[in-house]
């Protein structure tokens, strides 16, 4: 016999309390959805968590599946690393900014390279004209890397380098500088982004075709496992996927699925999973929808722990722990009323901290207009220091753990990510999905929908589509002129006259030979770098052997 179940407490509340109240005073006529378009209920109670098993889904900080954090002490042991991304102009200008940031209490360096460097082109290439030193620092050869880290002891700091296609070349230069300073490679610590999949998906700074690009990455995994064991060999990045317009769940799904692809390629290259997986780190965006972001970070840790333990059978607990860097959302910054960006950034940073980020970059208020001024960059760092030392948030681990709302969102995020995993697994993997344009199309669709929501004013951006202010006073911005281009071009000419060009040709030939075969490309690259071969020359050598990737443009 069927029994009609009685109303639950939440249903009773909805019927007896909520409905009459709404009848009397209606809800605001806006869609109650997250910035990703996820519908949100008026209330969450324990009834929304019927599928949550605390021991399985949450456990405690420092315990599998690490939903509540990878460290038992949270930030009580050590605060997150305040790592401000910086780079512009010629290497000596960025060196100066680095020294200022370290003096202001920044905990680690983070290098932004200019577009020619990111694309493996020397300053004299046609496509480099007008771009040298504009979006980051220009690094042409080891000589520039020596200038960049002049007076900075690589043995005692940690450095993150946002470099992808030419990651092996730039990393080789860093190792060569460390060698010259007398630092032990085994003690060096830092990160190279080295995440090519998200370049194909979102940021589009690719050079070589996907499979050859993946080989460069597994070569670095193998090289570092032996020679630079503390180095984070890859920072699997959702940041750019989100900036390109994905939803929070897509960012989570595509990033972790990229991570799975790298681990699979490493294993297929003959590496033991526990020999390289602990050095994989992640990089997420912290956008404006506060709770959705916190749920995303918590879900990321949980899914990765499960993937590593159960899908890849990793045995080392360090392989299970997802460590991540966060940057606040550049795309959320507005050129209008730029001081509002300080508030946006503070909220996004707070979400990242509550989500348990291991390191954090806060954007500067002027970044919708230009690269940040020194004053704006300092204010961004101070924002983190205020959260760390005044808000009280770091006193306890995972402060929102157990929140009905946040736990529901965390479970929903996980479910959505796993649905994408299934689709991509069926396609044969992420490389195949990218070749089919799948993640690219999903992101383009989401970004267009968001823009339509903004224009329909379903989503309000303060100062842009509401609360607009005419006649704003412009703020001071950093203007980068063409002088860096001229200086770097002159230096390149001088370098080619003073170095041993026969030796450069010889080592570039060895690099090409290795690329044709199966040896580790890092070994010849170290020799190229020591001979002062340029980034453009090293990338051209590989272009000659592997060709270049050309995207089919889709709209």
């Amino acid at each position: 016999m069927k029994t009609v179940s009685a109303d639950t407490a939440k249903q009773r509340w909805e019927r007896d309390i909520l409905k009459p109240a709404v009848k009397k005073a209606p809800e605001r006529a806006v869609p109650f959805t997250t910035i990703s378009g996820r519908p949100i209920d008026p209330l969450y109670t324990s009834e929304d968590l019927a599928d949550l098993e605390p021991a399985r889904d949450l456990n405690n900080p420092g315990e599998f599946p690490y939903t509540r954090g990878i460290h038992p002490t949270g930030y009580r042991g050590r605060l997150w690393t305040m790592r401000q991304f910086a780079g512009f102009g010629a290497p000596e200008e960025t060196n100066q900014r680095f020294k200022e940031l370290l003096k202001a209490g920044g905990g680690g360096l983070s290098v932004a390279f200019d577009l020619p460097t990111l694309m493996g082109r020397d300053p004299d290439h046609e496509l480099s004209l007008g771009e040298v030193g504009k979006c980051g620092v220009s690094i042409v050869s080891l000589a520039d890397m020596e200038r960049l880290f002049d007076g900075i002891d690589l043995a005692t700091i940690t450095t993150s380098m946002t470099i992808n296609s030419p990651a092996p070349m730039i990393f080789a230069m860093y190792l060569a500088v460390a060698e010259k300073q007398g630092a032990d490679w085994k003690k060096l610590s830092g990160t190279i982004q080295n995440d090519i999949l998200k370049e194909f998906i979102a940021q589009k700074e690719f050079i070589f075709p996907p499979r050859q690009s993946m080989r460069l990455i597994t070569d670095i995994f193998a090289f570092c496992a032996t020679n630079v064991p503390k180095w984070n060999t890859i920072s699997v990045s959702g940041y750019h996927i989100r900036e390109a317009g994905s939803t929070a769940a897509q960012e989570l799904a595509f990033t972790l699925r990229d991570g799975i692809e790298y681990v699979q390629y490493g294993i297929d290259a003959g590496l033991d999973v526990d020999a390289f997986a602990p050095q994989i780190s992640f990089f997420f965006n912290s956008h404006s929808d506060f709770f959705e972001e916190i749920a995303k970070f918590r879900a990321a840790r949980k899914i990765w722990a499960d993937v590593m333990k159960n899908r890849f059978k990793a045995k080392n607990e360090r392989s299970w722990k997802l460590r991540f860097h966060t940057q606040t959302a550049g795309v959320s910054l507005t050129a209008q009323q730029p001081y509002n960006n300080v508030v946006r950034t503070a909220l996004q940073a707070l979400a990242a901290v509550i989500g348990g980020t291991n390191s954090l970059h806060t954007n500067s208020l002027d970044e919708a207009l230009a690269l940040p001024t020194a004053e704006a960059a300092t204010l961004a760092l101070r924002t983190q220091q205020i959260i760390a030392h005044e808000s009280g948030v770091p006193n306890t681990v995972d402060p929102l753990g157990g929140s009905f709302f946040v736990e529901r969102l965390t479970l929903d995020m996980e479910r959505e990510a796993r649905q994408y995993f299934e689709i991509i697994d069926r396609m044969g993997g992420m490389v195949e999905a990218i070749e089919d344009g799948f993640p690219q199309k999903e992101i383009a669709e989401a970004s267009y929908k968001f823009q339509q929501a903004v224009e329909a004013r379903d989503k309000i951006i303060v100062g842009v589509n509401d609360f607009v202010q005419e006649d704003e006073t412009p703020i001071p911005i950093l203007y980068i002129d063409e002088s860096t281009g001229e200086r770097q071009m002159a230096r390149l000419l001088e370098l080619k006259q003073t170095r041993d060009n026969a030796e450069v040709r010889r080592v570039l030939d060895v690099l090409k030979e290795t690329a044709r075969g199966t040896g580790n490309t890092m070994d010849p690259l170290m020799d190229c770098v020591r001979a002062y071969a340029t980034v453009g020359e090293m990338c051209d050598a590989l272009r000659e052997v592997w060709g270049e990737y050309e995207e089919v443009p889709l709209i």
């Binding site: 577009l115 694309m119 007008g130 504009k134 209008q336 267009y448 823009q451 842009v464 203007y479």
Partner: protein, 134 residues
């Protein structure tokens, strides 16, 4: 006859979110949109405009390379007798560069926060009149 628009990304930058959103918005507004894809030289952009018989060229530039790319594109358009093509630039353009771009003939400059609707209206109001097809 539909307004024909070439949307291009000059320079080395790969951030194509803006270019793609605008391309789609113009298409939805009834225009014929040709998206060139990434890393186009000024020669390629003008070549595409010529080949596609474009009424409008829209360039998306965020990297600071606008003072390099735009004068070249404008000079090439003049050289090819395409001076009546409406040229728009969208992206991150410092205030000091706006008069310089206007002086060389860039008609529309759209900064962050511009709406798709504004751009559609600007094109409709400023595009060259098309000779009626015979």
């Amino acid at each position: 006859m539909k307004i024909r628009v070439v949307i291009a990304k000059p320079g080395l930058d790969g951030h194509d979110r803006g270019a793609k959103v605008i391309a789609r918005a113009l298409r939805d507004a009834g225009m014929e949109v040709i998206y060139t894809g990434l890393r186009q030289t000024p020669e390629q952009i003008v070549g595409a405009a010529l080949q596609e018989d474009a009424d409008v060229i829209g360039m998306s530039i965020l990297s600071g390379a606008h003072m390099h790319a735009c004068p070249k594109v404008m000079a090439l358009l003049k050289e090819k007798g395409l001076d009546d093509v409406l040229v728009l630039v969208g992206g991150i353009i410092p205030d000091v560069d706006i008069p310089k771009l206007q002086a060389i003939g860039v008609k529309g400059i759209f900064l962050p926060g511009s709406s798709m609707q504004q751009i559609v209206e600007f094109i409709t109001a400023n595009v060259r009149p098309r000779a009626e097809a015979i």
